[in-house]
């Protein structure tokens, strides 16, 4: 038995096919989900991939958040469905308030594309058990609205509860507060991050490293062992 991981396509999503590939490389089954369908096809987990859904118009993620598929994702995430939001997917998750905070334009005001070093701070979420806490990984990062912000109380809470899941190392590429690259919800099933693990699952392609594969093997193990 293998796990079925849904990958949502919104209009303007770009990394859906890459994410499906990453799911397959990890050994799970990738199930395409369409923004207009409420039906999640009984998947065991959902990834909201990167891209520019609705052109990032208004605010990144603001329009997608209201799609039919998100109604189901929001409802089931609250019941424990594992959900991973990558880049634009992370932006959608903050817009839905499944994750706290918000994303603003990069401090440099430019789009930035680079190989980014991260520290995995929380290796207990549904998507990070194949890493060890404190592990350093390098994956591609590419965004223009990637500056994570939240008020001080929220940030303190995230820190205190160990919910800062990933932190930028060496360079903070977008001015995110407290170098936050990704966070998790309290239950650990909903995780969002700006960098792109799905672009780092095959040697030779992209950065030539496979540091991102752990996200997809983590969820597979969790689901298969469940």
């Amino acid at each position: 038995m293998t796990a079925r991981v849904g990958v949502v396509t919104f209009p303007g999503t770009l990394d859906d096919r890459d994410t499906q590939r990453a799911v397959r490389v990890a050994g799970a089954e990738a199930v395409p989900l369409w923004h207009r369908d409420k039906d999640l096809k009984q998947v065991d987990a959902v990834v909201l991939p990167g891209g520019f859904s609705y052109g990032d118009y208004l605010r990144a993620g603001a329009i997608s958040r209201f799609s039919p598929v998100m109604e189901s994702v929001i409802a089931q995430a609250k019941d424990g469905l594992p959900v991973l939001g990558i880049c634009n997917g992370f932006q959608v998750l903050t817009e839905t308030h499944l994750l706290p905070g918000a994303m603003l334009r990069n401090e440099s005001l430019h789009f930035v594309c680079r190989e980014q070093k991260l520290r995995v701070e929380n290796a207990d979420t549904a998507w990070t058990t194949d890493y060890t806490a404190g592990q350093e990984i390098s994956v591609p990062l590419k965004n223009i609205d990637g500056r994570y912000v939240a008020d001080a109380r929220t940030l303190d809470m995230l820190e205190a509860e160990g919910r800062v899941a990933f932190r930028y190392l060496d360079v903070n590429p977008n001015g995110s507060l407290r170098d936050i690259a990704g966070i998790t919800n309290e239950a650990g099933n909903v995780v969002g991050l700006m960098p792109h693990p799905e672009h780092a699952v095959e040697p030779l392609i992209g950065t030539g490293r496979t540091d991102g594969l752990g996200f997809f093997t983590s969820i597979l193990k969790k689901l298969v062992n469940a």
């Binding site: 770009l14 520019f52 392609i205």
Partner: protein
């Protein structure tokens, strides 16, 4: 205002018409009247004027471009040649690849962000219209002097526009060029290229056949964008005094284009399309007349069915509008419903605006009244042809006599070292990361190599690891010294760059950027460059599959350097065998391949150290280029070289600096006996590359070079954290890195 119908035109032969304002010449207007046997209607005049503009009709250039077809080399790979939206080549395993480079120069000067953005949008639709999924873009750019205030306006806007549009489409940017030169001050060059991939059976052509088939316009609504833009912006030099009531600037909507791509690929997949054409310059005028002209019948269009953004547009304006993100498809009647359904799925507006007829005319109606009745070929394919006079300029001899080899050279190792740092830090030779880091190079998950590699490379089959590579090059300084040789050097460099990564060069696209064709000196440059490129393509066996011409790149009397930009596409059977530029392994041996002569004309050194342009460009030896490419490809395939970097502007030292910095390793070098260190490091002789060879492969590698007659000189070893030239100087990598990387952010950031 009364509608100028065909009937009305026939009845009012003497009515005054604004043909001159629309950019037509008197004899052209007379010819239109002759073709129609009456005066044209306003709508017809609009169509002819825009389709007969330089930009759309290639009227000054086509007598020269003909050579690309006449001198086409034997090449089994060519599936679709010049004349379609883009050429198509066979890359094996049933795959076909289409690619093309286009210019969006004038619009990008007026409005850098939108001009560049819509340039990307336009070339992507060209590729899409061939039936292919776009998989990567490249962007060869030229700006004015790096420290000129206007460059600070134009460059960031252009880069943000290319990134803003391409990133949002999900197309990895895998290469390009950034060149600064005062000659481009008022005429920056924004060229954009795109690669698309399809299976052989999916190739689509722009033609409308089959009476009764429907004409479907889909994508964005039509607004007043760029009306007159084609003729005003692309075909004449600017006339700032002319008032425009409609925006001459098109605004791009990359989100709409992304939907258009996905929607189009889906209708292709379900085989719902009999013919297709993108809407670019000249909008509907171009799409309808070209589709009808290439097809077998006529076409009838109800123009009032076109969805509008601005309801005040006149029929003439609708025909000329250059609103972006639109496509036009020919669809069999029983497939229309499914076609519209797929458009709805992707939130794309689609409208049946007409049908293919069994007649011979393109007929356009406005609320039931006929406003266009023309033979489509006369609009689309039988425009005027000029044999413009050309003459070698009288200054050419003096320019060539001003020999760069006579310039003062460094006299001490310290001076040589200082000049190396100066060249490596100069805007043209410095790292372009500040620019290229604003482009997504990872999206689609198939990028094997991207900037700053010698060529971009993407995997096109995940099972077999088949890949394609693309490099673009052009050196306006060389072309100014000798346009014939300059064009060949551009080709040679791109060809070499592709081979350096291990891919086999297959085919060529080009973007020819020149000044005014009405200047005989410019026309001579153009004639020489096209002749040079066509000859070289024939020798190298790489056909020109398509391209673009941009003329009138000049301010007043002063033209830009002749700037032929050449893109070479290559194929590699297994991307695992690709060769990067980085010296990643300490201890490997560095070999210089090829011969170094004393060739400093047009060189980076002469520009940076002496602000000099004169003499002759490096000699072209195409047989040598071919041999070098074969060696580089074999070395990659058989694992004999772990790194390779072609030598071009900046010479050997530039290549070494780049390979060392990329790999994070230094190099210890020895100048071969009897060679002048300065010439060794700075000469820009063509047909050369450096490679790093594992010690275990040395013998096999040198045997191969020896057996095939390619000079291979062992010049050093990858080692340490400095570039150390024995008996000369040493420069720490840190110092080189700072020099190389700080320049562009310092000037522009």
């Amino acid at each position: 205002m009364t509608l100028d119908t065909v009937k009305h035109a026939a009845e009012t032969p003497e009515a005054e018409q604004p043909w001159a304002e629309l950019g037509l010449k008197q004899d052209e207007y007379a010819r239109i009247r002759e073709i129609l046997d009456r005066r044209p209607t306003g709508a017809e005049l609009a169509m002819y004027s825009v389709m007969w503009s330089e930009h759309c009709s290639y009227k000054s250039s086509k007598v020269h471009l003909k050579q690309f077809g006449e001198k086409v080399p034997e090449n089994d790979a060519m599936l679709v040649g010049i004349g379609e939206n883009a050429g198509v080549v066979d890359v094996g395993q049933g795959y076909a690849v289409t690619f093309k480079v286009e210019s969006h120069n004038h619009p990008s000067y007026i409005e850098p962000y939108q001009g560049a953005a819509t340039g990307v949008g336009g070339i992507v639709r060209d590729i899409l219209a061939m039936g292919a999924r776009p998989v990567a873009v490249v962007d060869p750019l030229r700006f004015g002097a790096a420290d000129h205030p206007d460059t600070k306006r134009v460059l960031p806007g252009v880069v943000a526009g290319i990134g803003g549009y391409g990133n949002c489409l999900g197309l990895p940017n895998i290469g390009g060029e950034v060149v600064f030169d005062a000659c481009y001050q008022g005429n920056p060059l924004v060229n954009a290229g795109c690669i698309g991939v399809m299976k052989h059976e999916d190739i689509h052509l722009a033609k409308a056949s089959g009476a009764g088939n429907k004409v479907i316009l889909y994508g964005a609504r039509t607004g007043g964008d760029g009306i007159g833009g084609v003729s005003v912006l692309a075909s004449e030099t600017f006339d700032a005094t002319k008032p425009t009531k409609r925006p001459a600037v098109q605004v791009g909507d990359p989100f709409q284009e992304k939907l258009l791509i996905e929607c189009t690929l889906e209708v292709f997949k379900e085989q719902l399309v009999a013919g297709i054409q993108d809407l670019g310059g000249a909008g509907l005028s171009c799409a309808t007349s070209e589709l009808a002209s290439a097809g077998s019948g006529g076409m009838r269009v109800e123009l009032d069915t076109v969805p509008l953004r601005d309801s005040s547009l006149s029929p003439e304006e609708i025909l000329m509008s250059e609103s972006q993100e639109r496509m036009c498809a020919i669809v069999e009647p029983d497939k229309v419903d499914r076609f519209l359904e797929i458009c709805e799925k992707w939130d794309v507006i689609a409208t049946v605006i007409g049908e293919v007829t069994d007649g011979t005319r393109l007929e356009i109606f406005w609320h039931g009244e006929q406003i266009v009745d023309v033979p489509p070929r006369s609009v689309a394919h039988e425009g005027p042809t000029y044999h413009r006079p050309y003459a070698r300029p009288d200054w050419q001899d003096a320019l060539q006599a001003d020999d760069a080899n006579q310039l003062a050279r460094p006299t001490t190792p310290e001076e040589l070292r200082a000049q190396i740092l100066q060249v490596v830090a100069s805007p043209n030779q410095a790292s372009k990361a500040w620019i290229t880091d604003q482009y997504d190079r990872f999206v689609q998950g198939n990028t094997v190599l991207a900037q700053p590699e010698d060529s971009g490379m993407v995997r096109i089959d995940e099972e077999t690891n088949l890949g394609v590579a693309l490099a673009t090059d052009g050196n306006g300084r060389f072309a100014k010294l000798d346009p014939y040789a300059g064009a060949q050097l551009a080709l040679a460099e791109a060809y070499r760059n592709v081979a350096a990564t291990g891919a086999k060069p297959l085919a060529v696209s080009d973007c020819l950027n020149f000044g005014s064709p009405e200047d005989p000196a410019v026309m001579w440059q153009f004639a020489e460059a096209t002749r040079g490129l066509a000859d070289a393509c024939q020798t190298l066996g790489t056909p020109v599959t398509g391209g673009n011409v941009s003329l009138y790149n000049q301010t007043g009397e002063v033209a830009i350097h002749p700037t032929p930009v050449v893109a070479v596409l290559g194929v590699i059977d297994d991307v695992n065998r690709r060769t990067p530029v980085a010296f990643a392994q300490e201890g490997q041996l560095i070999y210089l391949l090829g011969d170094t002569a004393e060739e400093l004309g047009g060189s980076a050194w002469s520009q940076v150290v002496h602000e000099h342009l004169g003499g002759l460009p490096p000699k072209v030896d195409l047989e040598r280029e071919r041999l070098l490419a074969e060696i580089l490809i074999s070395a990659s395939r058989d694992g004999m070289a772990d790194a390779a970097h072609d030598l071009s502007d900046g010479g050997l030292i530039q290549a070494l600096v780049e390979s060392c910095l990329r790999g994070g390793n230094g190099a210890r070098l020895v100048v071969p006996e009897g060679v002048d260190p300065f010439v060794f490091l700075f000469s820009e002789s063509a047909g050369r590359a450096v490679v790093s060879v594992p010690r275990s492969e040395e013998l096999r590698f040198t045997d191969m070079c020896g057996a095939r007659g390619l000079p291979a000189t062992r010049i050093g070893v990858v080692d340490g954290d400095a570039i150390d030239v024995q008996g000369q100087f040493s420069i720490a990598l840190d110092e080189l890195r700072t020099a190389h990387e700080a320049t562009i952010p310092g000037l522009i950031g």
